[in-house]
């Protein structure tokens, strides 16, 4: 933005710049900083306004229009030549003629036009997609009624950050009816909906019955949930999002009253939310809004119990301030509440604050907002760099193109055309190109946002992205296209009209092209390209290396030759107590299949996250001093470690006696857990307990090697294993040969037990590992694509500049050759200049890359920021391209025949 404003300032007459420039920039900086403090929206609005105003000011100053004498013709303005004073001035007609001419000129060089439009479309399309993402996550307002009175109330997490609240704490907050006109709570979860084509898993919210009323989101259909839906044992009811209603129920107008199957439970539809509403989290889309009475039937009794547990923090709380109540008042009351809870439940709530955030202070979540802003900024920066590259390249092309028209332009200037007219010729061309590119970019963005929104590109979020090409995004694209058009059109036009008309007419094309200022301009453009592509290359290299590392990371288990089937007996109407025998039978059946070496069951797969439990470990005190720690949990059957090839380091693996419960409660732990909580590896015989059932002591019977629990990028993570499982489990079968061959048999074994048992997932463990890498792969591909494109553009730019410089100096080269200089020396001079540019710009690019690489560090495996290898790789690619781009035209020059050279021009 600083650059843009300075560029706009450059458009103003020198006198104005000298007199007012510094003060203007300072004022702008101060006003901008204030706008930023008011929020992203205000900042954007301010920037746009300041910039358009600056451009308008520059135009007015150049045209000599006065603020003080609006009607007076400005003394410096010239009459438009060729129009008699009696003829009325029709600016629109002029514009149309101008555009028609520009169109004709572009059609005369279709390759140039097509290439330009394509490059522009990519640049603008990528930026539009990025903006739609930023807009969805950070800018687009939520469709709440009187949003300024809505506040977010958060209890602290164990780490002391505002997080989410327990349901009893929500009740305490809601009791403050003097502060809040109303309060509602919502819990984010996923659930599977049974449709005609099987079960689909989707992001959902469990909400209090007054949720829609409190937010002021109207219902399209139905009465909504009654207050009895807040009670455990109440009727399970659901409100559909409008999108889910349309896509999953064909927009059935009779949908209210229908019973649908969610996680195997029957739930009655009581409403459809207003179109466009997709839950509390902006930019995401949740399809179902389930009542609290659904917690038990759809998740389990344990989940229903959360309504009474103060140690679960599962709920987001929204409050609507009563008339005249300020956020500070609400905060004071919540401070008092937090103090009271700390007194009443010291082991749970001591030091746990309650924070009230006013309207608009929080976008997604207090702890996530910063990260989201960071990630969005990083992505937007890369996209912006690409656009910068595109612009500087096109500016260069336009410059070359305009220079070849030097004669025509000089003739026109000599015949009395104004500089403005010539400028408008070039600019109308560039604007036309930019408009076509903008349209192309919009199409590309439409495709890309569709791809992102449909989940074709997996995202690490428990929700579907809700991207829209709405007015703000389309405005962004339009403004961007115009700015881009101006950016790459104005510069060459300016330069072109500055040249001395007479020398051009005398045939000295060099007067146009090799003036110091032009050279400076062109070299600057090339340097920008080299630096920008260097930054993108650095990032692309980092991601490519990280992906390569991720593929080689020791996952801790053997992924090859394992077939995976996931099912959920609850979908077939069984309850949890019947699950064990069914899974035992499934295990037996599959083990009996030919070609199966071993079989096991697991509630969670590595690399897919899963559940966790709050434990009390004998002899260990947590930092908070509560004695409790939260540890990731996996439930498995005997044979799991053998089937997964996870080495058992100490003790033994679970056996059938463990599964039958003959040995009492037993567990296995990962080495990371042993080290974290007992400080040594061999912890066989140690014990721990659960916060939820304090009387049970679990004995550790074995220590297993570490596996990657959530992602390949993680450090060794504490994890414990229990024997058993719930209604939904994975069946893992190690095969002697390719795992895919066994998949149909697995499915047949399942349906052989009960034809209604659903196959929720049928895949191989290798494919599952690959899936977990897919986001990385997409990121690497995108950045690699950007990097390649950037390199190509920078190479083309360099080629054009060197080729042009050589061509322009052909005559000089010829003369010097006749005088005895070797062609090599002469070309050397041109190439040296280029090399210098590349070195300087490359160094700048590396420095910028080094500065922004840490923004991406979270997603990187085995590389941290810019190291020597990455720098060398990126610089090497850049140099190679540059050498090729410079060498081709230089070689042509050394083969010049001096006689031919002298005849040139």
């Amino acid at each position: 933005m600083v650059l843009l404003l300075r560029a706009a300032l450059r458009l103003c007459p020198r006198e104005f710049r000298r007199e007012c420039g510094p003060a203007l920039v300072e004022t702008w900086q101060v006003q901008r900083a204030r706008a930023r403090r008011r929020g992203m929206r205000d900042l954007l609005r301010y920037d746009l306004r300041a910039l358009t105003d600056m451009i308008a000011t520059a135009t007015a100053l150049r045209a000599g229009r006065s603020l003080l004498h609006p009607e007076e013709p400005a003394p410096r303005s010239r009459r438009v030549p060729g129009r008699s004073p009696h003829e009325p001035y029709r600016p629109m007609q002029n514009l149309l003629t101008e555009l028609r001419h520009a169109l004709r000129r572009l059609f005369a060089s279709p390759v140039f036009a097509a290439a330009t439009v394509l490059v522009l479309a990519v640049g603008i399309g990528v930026n539009t997609t990025m903006f739609s993402l930023v807009s969805a996550l950070l800018l687009r307002p939520q469709p709440f009624a009187e949003p300024e009175r809505l506040v977010d109330v958060y209890q602290d997490s164990d780490e002391g950050e505002p997080s989410s609240s327990s349901f009893p704490a929500y009740r305490d907050m809601a009791a403050h009816t003097d502060l809040f006109e109303g309060t509602a709570a919502a819990m984010f979860w996923t659930a599977s909906l049974l449709g005609e084509d099987g079960a689909v898993t989707m992001p959902v919210e469990y909400v209090t019955s007054n949720y829609f009323e409190l937010l002021g989101v109207p219902l399209l259909l139905g009465p909504g949930p009654g207050s009895e839906a807040d009670l455990v044992g109440g009727p399970p009811v659901v409100v559909l999002s409008a999108a889910a209603w349309r896509s999953r129920f064909e927009g059935d107008p009779e949908v209210v009253g229908r019973t649908i199957r969610i996680n195997g439970a029957s739930v009655t539809v009581v409403g459809v939310a207003a179109p466009g509403y997709g839950g509390l989290m902006p930019g995401m889309h949740r399809e179902l809004f389930l009542s609290l009475s659904c917690l038990g039937p759809t998740i389990g009794d344990y989940a229903a119990g959360t309504l009474e547990r103060r140690d679960d923090h599962w709920f987001m709380v929204k409050g609507r301030l009563a008339d005249g109540v300020e956020v500070a008042q609400a905060q004071a009351a919540m401070d008092a509440l937090a103090a009271r809870l700390a007194r009443e439940y010291p082991d749970l709530n001591d030091g746990r604050d309650i924070t009230v955030f006013g309207a608009g202070e929080i976008r997604v979540h207090p702890t996530a907002d910063g990260e989201l802003r960071g990630a969005s900024t990083a992505l937007a920066m890369v996209a912006g760099l690409l656009l910068l590259l595109v612009c500087s390249n096109l500016a260069n092309l336009m410059l070359v193109r305009a220079t070849t028209r030097g004669h025509e332009v000089s003739l026109r200037l000599a015949l009395g055309a104004s500089r403005g007219q010539i400028v408008s010729h070039v600019v109308s061309e560039s604007l036309l190109l930019a408009a076509a590119g903008g349209l192309g970019g919009m199409l590309l963005a439409w495709y890309l946002t569709g791809l992102l929104g449909s989940g074709a590109i997996p995202l690490p979020l428990p929700a579907t992205l809700d991207l829209r090409l709405d007015t703000s995004v389309l405005t962004f694209t339009a403004v961007l296209s115009v700015l881009v058009g101006l950016a790459f059109g104005l510069l060459p036009a300016w330069r072109l009209t500055r040249s001395d008309a007479m020398s051009v007419l005398r045939g000295e094309a060099a007067a146009l092209s090799s003036g110091r200022r032009t050279r400076w301009l062109r070299n600057g453009l090339v340097a920008t390209q080299v630096a920008a592509s260097c930054v993108i290359l650095v990032l692309a290299t980092l991601f490519a290396r990280s992906l390569a590392n991720a593929g080689n990371v020791d996952l801790g288990f053997g992924a090859a030759e394992v077939a995976v089937l996931r099912t959920d007996v609850a979908h077939a109407g069984y309850d949890a107590s019947e699950a064990g025998p069914i899974y035992d039978r499934l295990r037996e059946r599959v083990a009996a299949l030919p070609g199966i070496d071993s079989v096991a069951l697991a509630g969670q797969l590595p690399l897919a996250g899963g559940g966790s439990s709050t434990l009390s470990i004998e002899g260990y005190q947590s930092e908070r001093g509560t004695g409790f720690v939260e540890v990731d949990r996996s439930t498995v059957s005997p044979g799991y470690f053998a089937t997964m090839r996870i080495p058992v380091l100490h003790g033994r693996e679970f056996d059938e006696a463990d599964a039958a419960g003959d040995n009492g409660p037993v567990a296995m732990v990962s080495r990371a857990m042993a080290r974290a909580y007992w400080g040594r590896d061999d912890v066989v015989g140690e014990r721990f307990g659960f916060q939820s059932s304090p009387d049970t002591r679990v004995e550790v019977v074995g220590v297993a090697a570490d596996v990657k629990v959530d992602s390949v990028a993680e450090e060794p993570t504490p994890l414990f294993y229990l024997v058993g499982g719930g209604a939904a489990r994975y069946l893992l079968a190690r095969t002697g040969g390719p795992a895919t061959a066994a998949l149909p048999d697995l499915r047949a074994a399942l349906t052989g037990i009960d034809a209604t048992l659903p196959t929720l997932q049928l895949t191989t463990l290798e494919a599952h590992v690959q899936d977990s890498l897919s986001l990385r792969r997409v990121g690497t591909l995108a950045l690699g694509g950007f990097g390649g494109l950037g390199l190509l553009l920078a190479g083309l730019g360099l080629y054009a500049v060197v080729a042009y410089a050589v061509q322009q100096r052909t005559r000089e080269i010829g003369i010097r050759m006749v005088l005895g200089a070797s062609a090599r020396e002469l070309v050397g001079a041109v190439v040296r200049e280029m090399v210098l540019i590349i070195l300087v710009a490359g160094a700048v690019g590396l420095a910028i890359g080094r500065a922004i690489a840490p923004l991406f560090a979270d997603g990187l495996v085995g590389v941290s920021g810019l190291d020597l290898t990455t720098a060398l790789l990126a610089a090497g690619m850049l140099l190679l391209t540059a050498m090729l781009a410079g060498w081709l035209p230089a070689r042509r020059a050394t083969r010049l025949d001096p006689v031919e050279a002298l005849r040139a021009e």
Partner: protein, 113 residues
């Protein structure tokens, strides 16, 4: 058609009027003027830097405002109203006041704050 420097006459462009009005209280630098204008209009009129400095330059060229030293920050030039500027402001204000009187006499202003 007259050449040379004509005298500026009302009606003035809003930006020019508001700048004169802001300076009528005390000399101010550019940013101070923008702040004063925003405050005096209850946030309705916000002067972006381009328009602000263009207007200040033209007004100083026409002797409606004059430089009056610098702030602690050397970039911040302080402007003060000249006699001509003050007179122009007064004429514009009278013109506006007359219009408001007319509006008042026709009961346009009743019913609203």
């Amino acid at each position: 058609m007259t050449y040379g420097k004509p005298n500026t006459e009302p009606p003035l462009k809003p930006a020019v009027f508001h700048i004169l009005l802001a300076l009528s209280e005390r000399p101010l630098h550019g940013l101070g003027i923008a702040d004063a204008v925003e405050a005096e209009t209850g946030g309705e009129m916000r002067l972006p830097p381009g328009t602000l400095y263009r207007a200040l330059k033209e007004m100083s060229d026409e002797d409606l405002v004059r430089p009056a030293g610098a702030d602690a920050d050397p970039r911040r030039k302080v402007y003060a109203l000249t006699a001509a500027g003050g007179e122009l402001l007064e004429r514009e204000a009278r013109r506006l006041a007359r219009l408001v009187e007319v509006a008042r006499s026709r009961n346009v202003l009743t019913g609203r704050a």
